[in-house]
Symmetry: C2
Subunit: 426 residues, 2 copies
């Protein structure tokens, strides 16, 4: 074997078992006893879980973490985020994404979906960091004439054509019209067609706020979800972000069309969008995965926290303590995300890519251990992750990220963030 993750317990699809995990050529070959291995990773006192999948983020927005909070969405966007974002260049996007990759690896996240701009710089970071990602250029055509809109849209298509499958398949590309309310009907239709014809994942923001739904009804005579349905937008290789304000019929539509939802509980709460109907979505057989959204509206990239919030908020929303149990929250954070993003990981089992998080279970806040899964969801945080593995490569060992220079990444991001803030306020 290339790698043995030894002496821990393992969260498998059949439950938690005491076992080593043996990896060869980037793939899990054994969940059991492993004798010989070139590299050994100590998992004693730990649980080996599938690597976490952050199914919706805008990674470079780490640079705006804590820059503006606690204000209405329009003030937040118009007076703070857009002005500072307008100063971002490719270097900034690279620095912000590098910081995000560092934070994600530290928290056991092995794979993320990113929709932003300067995406070739994001792809560079994915390549260097050893992570996996599904990347798309967030095309916005509102306020543009037909030629400009076409150019904007094609920028995303060209990015996807150029990058899909790069970095030994660790980079996949998606077509990402930003949202029904920021893209013309033509672009939405064209995006679905290109995704279908060329085999890209199709992803967009959907029904994040009440206002978005009301505005759509006013402008188009129907809700955003029904409008997309009428446009023939759904693809089985498609998923939407947020879905806070979807009714039961709309959830049925998504389920019938195999469209998954990336639930972003922290960001939806923080921006006062509401609490998504996750229990209803699961009842309707919609695949639900988890995202942090951008770190300016979260304000971190801790998927364990999103799993916890998904479980807690569903219970509070439904007045049902059995809603979204811990096991479901873990599935949402791992295999559901991997499936939505078009990767085949998300489970620790033989034949799957070896994307793993190794979580230390021996801290005070994780003692006693009546249930590994409960402790992971209700008590663990990103800081409890000890090792992170992607395609069998150890990208973090004993809390030290191997693929990035943590001190340099933080210093460069801090400097870029300060400069951007000064420019925006200048």
């Amino acid at each position: 074997m290339d790698l043995a993750v030894e002496d821990g317990v393992v969260l498998t699809p059949e439950g938690v078992v005491e076992a080593d995990v043996g990896v060869d050529d980037g793939v899990v070959r054994v969940v059991g006893d492993v004798e010989d291995a070139d590299q050994r990773l100590d998992a004693s006192g730990c649980v080996v879980t599938p690597g976490l999948v952050n199914s919706h983020t805008h990674a470079a927005m780490t640079l705006f973490r804590g820059y503006a909070d606690d204000m209405p969405l329009d003030t937040w966007l118009e007076e703070h985020i857009w002005p500072i974002e307008s100063g971002l260049d490719g270097d900034d996007v690279e620095k912000g994404t590098r910081l995000a990759a560092l934070e994600m690896i530290e928290g056991g996240t092995t794979c993320f979906a990113d929709m932003y701009f300067e995406m070739d710089r994001v792809a560079d970071v994915v390549e260097d960091s050893g992570m996996k990602a599904l990347l798309g250029y967030g095309a916005i055509t509102v306020g543009k004439d037909e030629d400009e809109a076409r150019e904007e849209f094609m920028q995303g298509v060209e990015f996807a054509r150029e990058h899909h499958g790069n970095a030994d398949g660790r980079v996949r590309a998606m077509v990402t019209p930003h949202a029904p309310y920021t893209c013309s009907t033509e672009v939405l239709e064209e995006a679905a067609k290109v995704a279908q014809d060329e085999g890209f994942v199709l992803h967009t923001h959907l029904s994040e706020t009440r206002e978005e739904v009301e505005d759509s009804v006013e402008e188009h005579g129907e809700t955003p979800a029904r409008r997309l349905d009428d446009l023939g937008f759904w693809r089985p290789e498609g998923y939407v972000a947020h879905g806070v304000h979807l009714d039961e019929d709309e959830l049925e539509l998504l389920a019938e069309n195999d469209v998954a939802v990336a639930h972003c509980p922290s960001a939806n709460a923080k921006l006062a969008s509401g609490i998504a109907p996750v229990a209803d979505a699961l009842d309707a057989d919609v695949d639900v995965c988890l995202g942090t959204d951008g770190p300016a509206s979260n304000n971190d990239l801790d998927l364990w926290e999103e799993a916890r919030l998904a479980a807690l908020l569903a219970k509070a929303r439904e007045f049902d303590a059995a809603a979204v149990p811990a096991e479901t929250a873990v599935e949402m954070a791992t295999e559901n995300g991997s499936r939505a993003l078009g990767f085949d990981a998300g489970r620790v089992e033989e034949g799957r890519p070896a994307d793993l998080a190794v979580v230390d279970l021996e801290s005070a806040h994780l003692t006693p251990c009546h249930s590994v899964v409960s402790n992971l969801v209700y008590s663990a945080n990103a800081g409890d992750v000890r090792h992170t593995v992607v395609d069998g490569e150890v990208v973090m060992e004993d809390g030290r990220v191997e693929t990035l220079d943590a001190e340099a990444v933080k210093a460069e991001a801090e400097e870029a963030a300060v400069e951007l803030a000064e420019e925006a306020e200048g």
Copy 2:
């Protein structure tokens, strides 16, 4: 000076300043430059905050962390928690509370309020651990005859008389009838009288669930809050836990009577009790502090997480992104709690007891630092705390708790928890 906390920034009532904190005789004497000190604590790259106050918990229930989750409240209590709790003895309570103290100190919590039984064992842990606490025996008289009820109640009164002011004032005692629905009218009235006459804090659970409110209306003809009002229960040195289902008039009642509310957002969500009207409470000038509730319904003792959830859930509940800003969440977790519990800490300023948490700001998930307060509330966790100080004594330095043997505490708690589970499952 006895102690200098050096080279960090300090969260003061006037904002964040670059300063050392000088401590003498357990009291903050200087927030500024400190020249000479017997002991020095390195706070470079850190923020010095007031020690966190966990205003409502049942600490020994750490032993049941993760023992039963994701089920309706009645199943959870009747089929799982009560059976395992019935096996608890004083040794178990001590072991569970010791584990809780370890976890709290690790997370920067310096003070907590505990309502449980075998409270003399809890007081021993407070004394040993160096923490501060407000302790009360949770008297339950439902199903008891008059003599038994009196005996149960007096057990709490005697505990309070014996322990109030012990451990150089680090232990304070309260009178704690468990809840309006578990105590007779006579005991509720008597508790208020004893608290008034003898100067104890008065604390109880109030309006945690819809059912509790509906049952009270059915049985007593009025809601629990109005019933307590009619009974003359309110004391300025009094506060209630939860308050999830309080209407605006009831919040006014609490405000008029200077009764604070310990908001427990994680536990209220996890047990599907709902989301408390915190924004309304603040609008009504109710003092709101924060509690984790018992770790079996949370499942940890991370006050930074409660502060974040208080801010996030208020925003989601009210569809108002400006509800409960980060600054307010910090006040709830620090000075509001200290005031409710009858301690005079909760702020880093000259003349206050030196109860401090020193939080490392240099991790990836806390970079960049546009706002210290935002990063604390929206991005930090218990794991980011580097040092903890109570009354000027360093109880944790560089993540190593000085007052407790962490490995022994965890091992003993794990062993007790496993035995209790085996007994309960027979």
